[in-house]
Point group: C2
Chain length 452, copies 2
């Protein structure tokens, strides 16, 4: 286990916290210091020993403020976590200190048509449940929506099921407002609205502690869950693209998995034919007939169809898509890992086809179709047979040299993964509100480069 | 007035119709033989004298069947009309005969979440009114939605307000099913579902009489109505494109009008500044804050803002967009006409800019942003200062030679306007169900070419 960079008398620290719940049990603290970074053998080897000193579980913004005051006073580092369902070590404390577990701040304050006001620790599934009673739902959720919290999703997520309609979380309009607690010499509560939310949106909790969020909602449809199989991979990919581009067919999820990925889906093993490529889909029930016509056009075979009513129970198809695809692959074979890839827009999907043939079984295509800047694009979460880091980097280079963009999931550094560049706004925000660099240290490259 | 190609004793014909309402009054028949083809000086000169022999107003499918039987028996041509709000002479009878006015078949049979079952003569506004009580609305409507009927919109329309979300009427999924009455030797009732609806979708009533429709609906938002002005035309166009591409901002209408078009909008004259270019918009109220950020980014000035609540009364902004833009321009100056243009996808909008500078006041840009094949594109309904047909054709040629597609609104021929090509499916459908060529004669080029 890594030693803390915050050596101190933790008994005294906890005593100063008064009634606020703390956890010191080493096994529990170790567990709450990790997330799903073991998807990456590279991250796992770096992060598996990282551990905080104490887990603090506030139940209110006032308690968060008190924790912040104490951390500033004692110069203790603080790493925020929700459910820990991220894959990039977002919430793994690199320098020990306080793990601020916000899962007890789980109140839904209010839901109105189109908007929800929530605390950060509310599970996504809980927001959806309450919103759907009013005919609304979250615009997008990760495949971990049953466990994941809204604060964690905003702090460390990017998009998911529903991104085919609304793009990414960071797109203007997908996050209305947040309240944060700062780590200045005198911590304060700040409300960010409009474009200002981007200061803390997907910042891994490096520059503020989110204590409340105002989230826009989407009109809820009855979503049928479907699997369509195809003999030929490129036909399945082009079907996915055509469904994505069918403006008159309402859908929420278009996930394409090349064989042998379907073989990793244990609950579907009896219905997924050997050697066939699968499209995992959520389609609005009123679009059922036109959807069938599209399937017919591409020669697909609908081998699984669960009505929206049935879909409220049992296996959820979403839990085989996005990063859950990787999870199931790794459950079946732990030598597998993954990549995240942005493909250029191309009706022919030529680059997808090229990589498919080039890499064979080493890099197995998994595509998620999403909307990006108003247009439809495939994004890849390919399953990769891992040998070593050098070969992984070679695979990444091969992709990038041919015009694909790799959002590297094998780094815990904010700018080296999804962001691809230092966000000057987020850096300046940290300089103002976390001047001592206590929040999630070691994650924001811009910060330490500006300090040296 | 053009003589009928159906010389007969119309008294006897009407007597055979029994209780079905007929109109023989020449002035009334003349009025019900026209539409808004006077938008085009070319169409007007061809069509203004065209007149039917008798208007027949059935109130049920059974009555439509009886009219069809009688027309087949006597080889009388039959031209269907709704409210006559089309601009291409779709419902003008070229060879006299029966005008089948379906405006009395105006029952909404049933509305369920996401789907409406309606008769063809229901006004679009009436469907919207009833659907909105359940949280739904039509996916797209033309600017004539207060007068236009759903049958007319499907038979002769293409898209409109809402197309920025759902594409065109002809996109798979935007029309679920229709029932038609045929004009075979023994007319029958046929139900078309799935892709089969495309046989009669946008066929100008040339191959069947629509008697019932199953129409998918969209979730209804509270739509705020807004006008934003800009000093520079290209900034207004790029703002429109950026709003269209903002996947997180919910909108229903993005219409950009170059100066002097805003000067034609009498009710807005006091608020629209001289010389400024205007964006006419419908934006969902929950997206108000992110929308303001986008306006700020482009340096726009919000000079008109009507809440969704206020928008239920008074001037509707939609009635200044799409073909209503042309209507207001012509009210101000009857020498103006228009074109319809498809632009290639281009983030820089270079072709839009080129035409703007090239034509000056002769062709004034009016853009409507729509979704097409999953991507966002501007479509042009430019206001054109008409001199003569030769110059108009020169303007069309200039556009086409540079990669824009002109959907010529100065023709009444189905294939020469929006369709751009003979639809073999629609032609075969006519050959089967209207073997004597009685339905809306002279409109389908494929038909008469196949007969000669």
């Amino acid at each position: 286990m890594t030693a803390s960079a915050n050596p101190r008398n933790w008994d005294e620290f906890c005593a100063e916290l008064g009634d606020i719940e703390t956890i010191r049990d080493r096994a529990q603290v170790a567990k709450l210091s990790q997330d799903y970074n073991h998807f990456s053998p590279i991250l796992q080897s770096i992060l598996q020993e990282k551990i905080g000193d104490v887990v603090v579980r506030p139940t209110s913004e006032a308690e968060v403020l008190k924790v912040a005051q104490l951390c500033v006073k004692h110069r203790v580092t603080l790493t925020v976590r929700g459910a820990g369902t991220g894959n990039y070590g977002q919430c793994v404390p690199l320098e020990g200190g306080v793990i601020l577990d916000l899962s007890k701040m789980n109140q839904i304050r209010r839901i109105e048509p189109g908007v929800a006001w929530v605390e950060p620790g509310v599970k996504l599934v809980a927001i959806d449940k309450q919103a759907r009673d009013m005919g609304w739902e979250l615009r997008m959720v990760p495949s971990t929506y049953r466990m994941a919290t809204i604060g964690g999703f905003i702090g460390g997520g990017s998009g998911g099921i529903g991104s085919i309609n609304y793009g990414q979380l960071r797109d203007r309009g997908n996050l209305h407002a947040v309240r944060i607690v700062t780590l200045e010499d005198e911590p304060q509560i700040v409300e960010l609205r409009g474009d200002e939310v981007q200061n803390v949106n997907h910042a891994y909790g490096t520059n503020g502690i989110i204590t409340e969020l105002e989230i826009p909602l989407a009109p809820a449809y009855p979503w049928a869950e479907l699997i369509v199989t195809f003999d030929d991979f490129m036909t399945s990919a082009k079907f996915g693209q055509a469904l994505g581009r069918s403006d008159g067919i309402i859908k929420k999820l278009v996930c394409i998995c090349a064989w042998p990925i379907p073989s990793y889906f244990a609950p579907f093993r009896d219905i997924l034919p050997q050697g066939k490529h699968a499209a995992l889909l959520m389609v609005a029930e009123p679009s059922w007939e036109p959807f069938q016509e599209l399937v017919k056009e591409f020669g697909g075979d609908i081998c699984y169809h669960k009505s929206a009513q049935e879909a409220t129970k049992g296996t959820a198809i979403a839990e085989f898509t996005w990063n859950h695809t990787t999870l199931h692959a790794r459950s079946s074979d732990s030598s597998l890992t993954y990549l995240q890839t942005g493909f250029p827009e191309d009706p022919e999907l030529k680059l997808v086809e090229h990589f498919y043939h080039h890499f064979g079984d080493e890099v197995i295509p998994h595509l998620e179709f999403v909307r990006s800047g108003g247009n439809l694009r495939p994004s890849g979460l390919q399953i990769v047979r891992f040998t070593d880091e050098a070969r992984l980097n070679e695979i990444i280079r091969y992709h990038e040299e041919r015009g694909a963009i790799i959002f590297n999931p094998h780094t815990y550094i904010l700018e080296d993964g999804g962001m691809k560049a230092i966000d000057v706004r987020q850096l300046q925000f940290k300089q103002k509100y976390d001047p001592h660099g206590l929040l999630n240290p070691g994650k924001m490259r811009g910060w330490w480069e500006s300090q040296s």
